[in-house]
Symmetry: C2
Subunit: 199 residues, 2 copies
DNA sequence: GTCTATAGACCGATAGAC
DNA sequence: GTCTATCGGTCTATAGAC
């Protein structure tokens, strides 16, 4: 791979690229809800005919699948780059990484967090989320075992509370103005690990 | 009110009480989504005709309105019973109270947290939620001023993180098995105020 | 001519109005 | 109980950049 950053040369008739469609589609899904969004209304929002849309995606559900994979891939990537420090260090890395991914892929993660399991695609996404949670829970348990995290809270409850806090960011964070992602991650780490009370 | 626990004597043809209908309706709204639930399907789920349902509620939207009021009333009640201790004490009271209300009225609060503002009723509910948040934010600010809460985090961000954690409980908590509400509230207080790291 | 994106007519299924 | 609008999806042909 000589230049992986370079966009492949677009040939043929100009038009939407898959990613552009995906981005707008996710926005529409968030606004109207996935189920409530018809392919026709999606196409109209894109300024496309249905058939043109179906040239890029095999089905409405494939659009959802690719979008959810974007979010899940980002989160799972955080687990992969976790390194080999103490459980406490790894936990910090995962929390910070999750916040950064969430901000970076805000719309995709928002969509992911609204999935309720109404189809095979949604259920598969939920299962990947659960696997992510299980890994983090194991990390919390390890940190408790090494004595760096308090042991009077069930690791599964602790993980759910932590990620409840992290995930809730999609409900209010907007990139323009206010804090940037690194500052937000710092705040989350501070509350999650040391609490809001003055030391 | 001499005996608020006593159910008033039911007269006339037996049938659903408003609260029973409300409870089941909220369950259906959560399962299918409010917009996606037709009055016909709601009535069928209740084993009622549409006209019987409309005897109890003027409209589908009124069902939603009453349900959201149940959740919001519970949360606002926590603010009213806050007492006059230090800001730190009042903040603890609000957090614990919110967890208890959330567990007690789990379905109603779940519905409230899914509202996106698609109608006047929904927008009114969102505004009441925002008012609640503003009050809590002011409380966090007061606690920072009195020196009991760390001041290196914006009070509005801190409030959102705290209630992100609290609200996320509806996503996984189920009354049967596991912790009870008081234990859960204790865990939330512990993480929120003192953090997950070992002291 | 080759390649890609697009348009429009058209299915069968079905949910919801009447 | 019937009827119609809309649903997700298909097929064929064409428009436009190189």
């Amino acid at each position: 791979m000589s230049d992986p950053d370079q966009t492949p040369v677009r040939r043929g008739r100009p038009g939407y690229a898959r990613e552009q469609i995906l981005e707008i589609a996710v926005q529409v899904f968030i606004e109207q809800g996935y189920d409530a969004t018809s392919v026709a209304s999606l196409a109209s929002r894109l300024g496309l005919s249905k058939s043109a849309l179906y040239h890029h995606f095999a089905s409405k559900e494939e659009v959802l699948e690719v979008a959810l994979d974007e979010a899940l891939g980002g989160l799972e990537g955080v687990l992969n780059g976790v390194g080999d420090g103490s459980a406490r260090d790894r936990l910090e890395h995962v929390l910070r990484g999750a916040v950064l991914v969430l901000v970076d892929k805000l719309a995709y993660v928002t969509l992911l967090l609204r999935v309720r399991g109404n189809s095979d695609v949604e259920r598969a996404a939920l299962e990947r989320r659960r696997a992510f949670d299980r890994t983090v829970t194991a990390l919390v348990r390890a940190a408790q075992a090494e004595g760096t995290v308090r042991s009077d809270i069930d690791p599964s409850v602790a993980t759910r509370l932590l990620f409840g806090m992290v995930n809730s960011i999609v409900e209010w964070y907007r990139p323009s103005g206010g804090e940037g992602a690194p500052e937000l991650a710092r705040d989350v780490l501070a509350v999650a690990l040391n609490g809001l009370a003055k030391p």
